[in-house]
Amino acid sequence: MNSLSNLPAVLVLEDGRIFRGRSYGAVGTTLGEAVFTTGMTGYQETLTDPSYAHQIIVQTFPHIGNTGVNSEDPESTRMWAAGYVVRDAARRPSNWRSERTLDEDLVEYGIVGIQGVDTRALTRHLRDAGAMKSGIFSGDDAAKSDAELVELVKAQPSMAGRNISAEVSVDTAYIVEPADHGYTGEPKRTVAAIDLGMKSMTPHRLAERGLRVHVLPYNATLEDIKATGAEGVFFSNGPGDPATATAQVELVRSVLDAGMPYFGICFGNQILGRALGFDTYKLRFGHRGINQPVMDKATGRVEITSQNHGFAVDAPIEGTVTAPVERFGKVEVSHYSLNDHVVEGLSCLDIPAFSVQYHPEAASGPHDAAYLFDRFMTALDSAAEKDSK
């Protein structure tokens, strides 16, 4: 029963609510924004998703770690979550691909966690009060007074207004070759992918369709993009407040002005929205899970999607409007959340640009929206056709 032998741990929220449990993973102190995710599978992908940087993840599903950890499923080279809150951590993983326990990896990456918490009570609180600053304190750090801990939690910067791209992006560019991702034959086309905290499944989805992907750091320029020979540009998911991504917004505008096809996911959707002149705003508790229904307005069909976002684009769901930045022409919301009517996708009608707020690359999550990668392919093909005429 490792559940009894662990050290005490405490989860502290900025509004003073406190949950006590036992330590899980690394022991010590961690601070971050407490957010919950409702996915019942995919903890390994979740923990390695760079979008969770500076967030303390609350898993609503009680049993975590059952299938251990393998080297195939991570979405990046490390775990990014600031902290981890679970109810029942697995003692003994079981899966034919399992190589280690999750506990071991949490320790290795220094992720301070807490187990034995009433995660449902915590989730209900975050749902009603909103995602908020929090901290996990375990071992000796848990012994401090509650008031002291609340002060520590409050002292951290807020997620709103925060720019984290530099922390999570690659330092240097690299190339993802189709041949390494199951695609046979010569690469069809070349695209640039701006890494703002990109999950590794995304370049895989591009490459398996025959695209050579030049992954560029967050601060790449149009010249850097053009130097790769890219025919289109992709902007990835990533953490932070899109309102602070001024440089990326400008870069997207120059890409659009250059007439290059654009595809954005998550953060890349918010940046396109801002480039078009729309505002972005922070959701109360965000959308995090792999069961999120999204309406594709073009087909009238529902996609079950993987989502992880705390911010959203403020655009009218109905009809077609001229982009506030008028030179980009007409734009419409292509997808919206059936749960709360939040914008889940943008589509430009006059220029080859579109983006979605959710995760068609899934990992974790369902593959319903994989067609969007094909749509990007089509946009690239049309643009090339136009150029050749």
Binding site: M1, S3, L4, F19, F36, T38, G39, M40, T41, G42, Q44, E45, T60, F61, P62, H63, N66, T67, N70, E72, D73, R87, D88, A90, R91, R92, P93, S94, N95, W96, R97, D118, T119, R120, A121, T123, R124, R127, G289, I290, N291, Q292, P293, M295, G300, R301, V302, I304, L338, N339, D340, A362, A363, S364, G365, P366, H367
Partner: protein
């Protein structure tokens, strides 16, 4: 794209009687469907032969046909009602097969009826093994590999590819004849060699074995816009080899990574599209090789199933309801999620708890049956539990079974026995879980147990976790708070803690309450708390925050009947649901407590609040406490859910809980032999001579004084458990020796057995002043066959007004003497015109739904209202007819015949023969049907057709009876012979028939050589069998004849009384065309006659 406007009326086909594999879950789904269709403003027509269902309550449809579900009868209903469409996907395989037959016969086309929610090609693609294999292949997935061979050489070549073990299946043999598993070349030579001979086409299918693989099921929904969602994933605790219905199952899947789960999801969606499931629910089963992760698709069901009911209860996503909306044209995104109100049904539920379902078996009823669990389902019911972790859910589910020994215990298994026990758990059995857990407790490693059972190591570790907590408790017998909390967090009951600490359960409870260690109640909300839930569907957990909202009115708590079992099934859920409906209608705040996922009562929108909880004293007291804390409790009903809540009555009262309706003292008065005798004496009534014994000596003394035969049984039982008719001292001694649980508190009852008596059942209501007789039922078989297995008729067909009046007065005297406030069921026996009282049960009985349907009066609703203080007089003219009662029905009243449905064909001896189908004092039927018609003969014929034993109108009848019956069969057999039936008989019976001038063909008995009667039966040449047993032939010819008949489905009658009724019915079948009449018309006719 909202609802279709071209549909005005829809016929829903139900699933008929409760049988193993097709049970109450189809009442749950069918009831939801009817409610949706009515809400949508459609005219709703229903056919279902099962009177114990909520769906057949007349208010749920515009026209309710309690008629046999056969293509012929359903066609008559179509001709009469002319529905626009048929919805066949909510009534199990029965409804689907009926719809397919109607399509094939051209009836659908003839009457221009559309199938909705189903598509014949899709059904056939899903159900045809070979075609489905093609579907799977086209979806880029795999089925188990197989090769068809025609010679042994080909078989050996095929095994090179498939590897041992291989499943050997001869083609076109009956009932799996010649199938087997070959583990090595010798096996293959033997099994495949024989199989090639058995097969008329000299053809054998060899299939790779997936035994021991992990087994999963995904529940899916699809709408007409091709939106597909996965409602739930279910993982089997028992690996492939045990039928899902017999396996412990867990939701959601616990041991898959996201990649693996998404692979199953992708395959499922591809398959549902490729098969072309129209709209609605379906499920797909998978096996996964635990060593490599290779996925094999096992099968799919293109309809709502048992597991969809489980998935609905497990997730809060009402599959049947939504499937019905999809069938009438809505799409998933247009349907709101009931629970969150604001979000749509086009999503996939997220759980923040674990659901465990455990099967309940009835092998004690079939001692000859092989108890090994195989791919043939044998369980008769199930319990489900929710917990915030697996250990909590598992332990709650196990105690929900209410079976002795179902809770885990912590006794080590001596090392010397390990090997033998390990050998015994290779295959699934009812004991496997507890043996695995105790072996772990005794030091056997997880690796060893995985190797032996293939149960996933994660689950084995969870069992070990439970063991470790048990050790912690045993080491801390004073139960400090942190230990108590830890134990509770892993689902330990007070009873288990009592056992581990050597204290009593009530002391444990006292310690626990003093420390404030009590459960909280969480909500099932489909979304893991992401959105607010508006439906109070609760489950307990030992966690921090409770979610029970404050309520203004005091609550009325109705305790349900727990898992279905033989003797306590859907009939009791029916009464509970009726009580809830009546109390809600009268403005009471209702709270339902139950743990059976199949039922209507555990549908979250039946009561004001649903607690999905075990029905143990501990769990019920905690629910009551939670309700007390949030607004108070008016009282608790224990008389509606059968023996399960009734046995809690005294302890609840002792705990200060107000019991509504009949008091615990009155219950005890009826159940306590001596006290009840006093009640009878005071009323001048007689019981068969009897006595109570706690030893053989005492039993012998009683039997000697009252004379053999005697009826012996344990006290406080339902369904005649352990009841036997004993004809001599030797058998009495055997009975007492085998009855293990005789104590002063639980003695054996010894009654004089009345031979040739007419058995009479009465359901009545008493409010302290007035009596209302719901109905008097006359059994068709004589006393001695359990009332649950016996056919009966209401109104009685041979009891005159004076007898009925005597029954009524006796009922009144007993109800008054016992102090009933609500329902009472009394069994009488009429012998030589003396009315004997056999027993009285001051609670809702198994026959209440039948009585209610037959007389158009819903007795349980009245019982509930009496419980909250209403009088019968007040309810006259609304819930009750203005005048009259069910004792003396108008002559114009139609005749309702109840017939039992038996599960014998499911149970085979270890040698592979079906078990004996003889009826006796121990109940073994799983369900019942009702035949309803103007006259008894047709009503009886309908009941037999509905029970899947249609009577022949021509052909061969085999007759073989015991000596005492020879005289009474002459007339009916002659009648059949005169009407052109060929009579076949053996030995003594044949001689009697021929001497009476009846042409009779003689066939040999089994031991006589040559063509025997068994050969004729197996060849399907016999249309009807009358075989009454003599005491000695249980293992002789009689058994062989009955077993052969059961295995090929020939109707076999084992009593002369039923034979006489059958002869009458055959006449009716030959002379008249059946008419079908809805309950609504029957009720209107009866009311008109009552008022005339």
């Amino acid at each position: 794209m909202p609802k279709r406007t071209d549909l005005k009326s829809v016929l829903v086909i139900g699933s008929g009687p409760i049988v193993i594999g097709q049970a109450a879950e189809f009442d749950y789904s069918g009831t939801q469907a009817l409610r949706v269709l009515k809400e949508e403003g459609l005219r709703v027509i229903l056919v279902n032969s099962n009177p114990a269902t909520i769906m057949t309550d007349p208010e749920f449809a515009d026209a309710t046909y309690v008629e046999p579900i056969t293509p012929e009868v359903v066609e008559k209903i179509i001709a009469k009602e002319r529905p626009d469409a048929i919805l066949p996907t909510l009534g199990g395989q029965t409804a689907l097969n009926t719809a397919i037959a109607l399509d094939k016969s051209g009836a659908l086309q003839k009457y221009d009826v559309e199938l909705i929610g189903a598509n014949i090609e899709a059904i056939e693609l899903g159900e045809d093994r070979e075609k489905f294999k093609g579907v799977v292949e086209r979806c880029g997935a795999e089925s188990a590999r197989s090769v068809i061979v025609h010679t042994l050489d080909e078989a050996f070549a095929a095994v090179e590819e498939l590897n041992y073990p291989v499943v050997v299946r001869p083609s076109f043999t009956m009932g799996g004849l010649g199938s087997g598993m070959a583990y090595n070349p010798e096996d293959l030579r033997r099994i495949a060699g024989a199989g090639l001979q058995y097969s008329p086409t000299t053809e054998v299918l060899l299939e790779e074995s997936i035994l021991g693989w992990k087994e999963y099921e995904l529940e899916m929904m699809r709408d007409k816009n091709d939106n597909v969602v996965v409602v739930c994933s279910i993982e089997n605790f028992d690996p492939v080899g045990v039928h899902t219905g017999d396996s412990i199952t867990v939701a959601p899947a616990m041991t898959l990574t996201d990649r693996e789960y998404q692979k199953l999801r992708d395959i499922s969606i591809a398959v549902i599209r490729e098969v072309g499931v129209d709209t609605g629910g379906c499920n797909i089963q998978f096996a996964i090789d635990p060593a490599t992760g290779r996925v094999v698709v096992i099968e799919m069901n293109p309809r709502v199933s048992r597991s969809s009911a489980l998935a609905s209860k497990a997730t809060g996503f009402a599959i049947a309801k939504i499937a019905t909306k999809l069938a009438v044209g809505y799409t998933l995104d247009e349907i709101p999620n009931d629970i969150t109100k604001k979000t749509p049904a086009s999503f996939e539920p997220a759980l923040d708890y674990v659901v465990v379902k455990v099967p309940r078996f009835a092998f004690e009823k079939f001692p000859a049956a092989d108890k090994t669990l195989t791919t043939t389902m044998k369980s008769v019911g199930e319990a489900m539990a929710l917990g915030r972790n697996f250990t909590e859910a598992l332990q709650k589910a196990l105690r929900s079974l209410e079976q002795k020994g179902s809770e885990l215990s912590f006794e080590p298994i001596p090392e010397a026995e390990h090997e033998a026990v390990l050998a015994s758990i290779v295959k699934g059995s009812t004991e496997r879980l507890s043996l695995v857990q105790r072996l772990l407790f005794s030091g056997v490693s997880i690796e060893k147990l995985f190797e032996t059972t293939a149960i996933d190591p994660w689950y084995l570790d969870q069992l070990q976790l439970i063991n470790e907590v048990a050790q912690l408790v045993a080491a801390n017998k004073h139960l400090p708070e942190h230990v108590l909390r830890e134990a509770k967090r892993h689902g330990f009951s007070d009873a288990q803690l009592a056992q581990l600490t050597g204290k009593s359960e009530s002391v444990i409870r006292g310690i626990r309450h003093a420390l404030g260690v009590r459960p909280v109640y969480k909500t099932v909300d489909t979304c893991a708390a992401e959105f607010e839930a508006f439906t109070p569907y609760m489950y307990s957990s030992y966690d921090e925050e409770t979610e029970v909202a404050a309520h203004e009115k005091k609550s009325v708590i109705i305790l349900g009947s727990g898992p279905n079992r033989i003797g306590q099934g859907i009939e009791f859920d029916y009464s509970c649901v009726h009580a809830v409906m009546a109390l809600r209608a009268e403005g009471y705040e209702t709270v339902m407590v139950n743990c059976n996922p199949e039922t209507v009562s555990t549908d979250y929108d039946i009561s004001d609040r649903l607690y999905f909880e075990p029905l143990t004293l501990e769990d019920v007291l905690e629910v009551i406490h939670a309700e007390e804390e949030t607004g108070g409790v008016l009282g608790v009903f224990v008389q509606l859910g059968g023996q399960t809540p009734l046995k809690l009555a005294a302890e609840l009262k002792a705990a200060g809980v107000p019991i509504l309706g009949t008091s615990p003292e009155a219950i005890d008065l009826a159940e306590h032999r001596g006290a009840f005798q006093q009640v009878l004496d005071n009323a001048g009534l007689v019981a068969p001579k009897n006595g109570t014994a706690v030893s053989f000596a005492e039993a012998k003394a009683i039997a000697d004084s009252i004379g053999y035969p005697v009826l012996v049984r344990p006290s406080y039982v339902l369904g005649g458990r352990g009841m036997e008719i004993v004809y001599d001292e030797a058998n009495l001694e055997r009975y007492i020796t085998n009855a293990t649980e005789i104590t002063v508190d639980h003695p054996v009852l010894v009654d004089r057995f009345l031979e040739d008596a007419i058995e009479i059942d009465v359901d009545a209501l008493f409010d302290g002043t007035d009596l209302y007789v719901g109905g008097i039922m006359e059994h068709i078989e004589e006393a001695g066959i359990h009332s649950g297995d016996s056919a009966c008729t209401l109104p009685p067909i041979t009891l005159g007004p004076d007898v009925r009046e005597r029954v009524k007065q006796a009922t009144r005297a007993i109800a008054e003497g016992v102090g009933v406030r609500g329902l009472i069921n009394i069994q009488f026996a009429l012998a030589s015109d003396i009315l004997y009282v056999i027993e009285a049960n001051p609670r809702a009985s198994r026959t209440v739904p039948f009585t209610s349907k037959a007389t158009g009066v819903q007795l349980s609703k009245v019982a509930a209202l009496i419980g909250v203080g209403k009088t019968l007089a007040e309810l006259r003219g609304s819930y009750l007819p203005a005048t009259g009662d069910g004792a003396h029905l108008p002559e114009a009243a139609a005749i309702a015949v109840k017939e039992a449905v038996m599960p014998f064909a499911r149970f085979r001896t270890p040698e592979g023969k079906v078990v004996d189908s003889l009826l006796g004092p121990e109940m073994r039927s799983t369900g019942e049907v009702m035949g309803f018609d103007k006259y008894f003969d047709t009503a009886f014929a309908k009941s037999q057709a509905a029970a899947n034993n249609p009577l022949p109108t021509a052909g061969k009848v085999f007759v073989s009876v015991t000596n005492r019956d020879k005289r009474s069969i002459v007339m009916p057999v002659k009648h059949l012979s005169d009407n052109g039936f060929e009579i076949i008989s053996t030995g003594g019976t044949a001689e009697v028939l021929r001497r009476n001038g009846i042409p009779t063909q003689v066939v040999g008995k089994l031991h006589e050589g040559g063509e025997s009667i068994v050969d004729l039966i197996v060849a399907g040449q016999i249309g009807l069998i009358l075989n009454t047993p003599s005491g000695s032939d249980a293992r002789g010819d009689g058994y062989e004849i009955r077993a052969a008949a059961t295995s090929v489905g020939t109707p076999v009658i084992t009593t002369v009384a039923e034979f006489n009724a059958s002869v009458q019915a055959i006449d009716a079948l030959r002379e008249y065309e059946w008419d079908v009449t809805s309950l609504q018309v029957h009720d209107a006719n009866l009311n008109a006659a009552r008022n005339a």
